[in-house]
């Protein structure tokens, strides 16, 4: 009997060793958030300052945010608004939810190779030195850097991932080089 338990334990560990676990956590928004009102924008080349009011759970907040970057000032204003609102919601707190996707392939090593068209979680993809988000065809995108080995030689890849939907935690690899 004790040998069969030992054997089961061993098989279980082998299976776990060949599983690929993708995890992500996000702040689930459980607040009643109203629209942005009284928006004032001070924008110029490479910067945008915004000030606006927003009502969360019946309480009005006045927010200000500065954003600098190389994008057009309208985009910078959008980033500033989004960041100010996200910062406020983070300060207010909420419930963090985590999700994990586990895929197992018993008996074979799971190849982890990101290719164009792959669906990924943003948290599993490395940051690029150009770390800011940008918009492409209405989708939120960012660049990534990935390290791999080919024939024992290290290789650095770069690419672009875009969020499938503003509410979706899945991102798609748009390009890789």
């Amino acid at each position: 009997m004790k040998y069969s338990i030992l054997l089961l334990s061993l098989v279980s560990q082998i299976a776990v060793a060949n599983c690929n676990v993708k995890t992500a956590s996000y702040l689930a928004n459980e607040h009643q958030v109203g629209p942005i009102t009284n928006l004032v924008k001070d924008q110029g080349e490479g910067y945008c300052n915004v000030a606006f009011d927003i009502t969360v759970d019946g309480t009005q907040h006045h927010l200000t945010k500065k954003y600098k970057g190389l994008e057009r000032s309208e985009i910078l204003c959008q980033y500033a608004r989004d960041e100010a609102r996200e910062d406020l919601l983070l300060d207010l707190g909420g419930t963090f939810k985590a999700e994990a996707v586990t895929s197992c392939n018993e008996g074979a090593i799971v190849p982890v190779k990101i290719t164009v068209g792959s669906t990924v979680l943003e948290t599993e993809i490395g940051k690029h030195k150009r770390s800011k988000y940008f918009t492409r065809n209405g989708l939120k995108c960012r660049m990534f850097t990935e390290h791999g080995y080919v024939d024992g030689t290290p290789r650095v890849y770069n690419g672009v991932i875009c969020q499938n939907d503003p509410e979706d935690s899945n991102w798609t690899v748009m390009d890789k080089w």
Partner: protein, 91 residues
């Protein structure tokens, strides 16, 4: 008589002697390294870079390219993505 030029053009076209413009010379790797992307020239530069991309037709998987092609392709794609990153959404 007034139709003579048109007739001549048609004859030349039929004989395959119409000039199709200068032959296409793709940018070299060194020229790509020196390339100066500019938001104000975005449309023209992107057209040029995509023409270059179509000309070479590199495979999407960088692991299927040899070292030279991978370097060239990386330079090219870096340039193409420079525009949405630095100039915003509009093309």
């Amino acid at each position: 008589m007034k139709y003579l030029p048109a007739v001549l053009v048609l004859l030349l076209a039929a004989c395959g002697k119409v000039d199709n413009g200068p032959p296409y010379h793709p940018l070299t790797y060194e020229e790509l390294v020196q390339y100066q992307p500019s938001c104000s020239k975005r449309a023209d530069q992107l057209r040029e870079l995509r023409l270059l991309q179509n000309y070479w037709g590199f495979k999407a998987d960088p692991d299927e390219l040899n070292d030279d092609d991978r370097e060239y392709n990386a330079r090219l794609k870096n340039l193409i993505w420079w525009y949405p990153y630095n100039c915003g959404e509009q093309e």
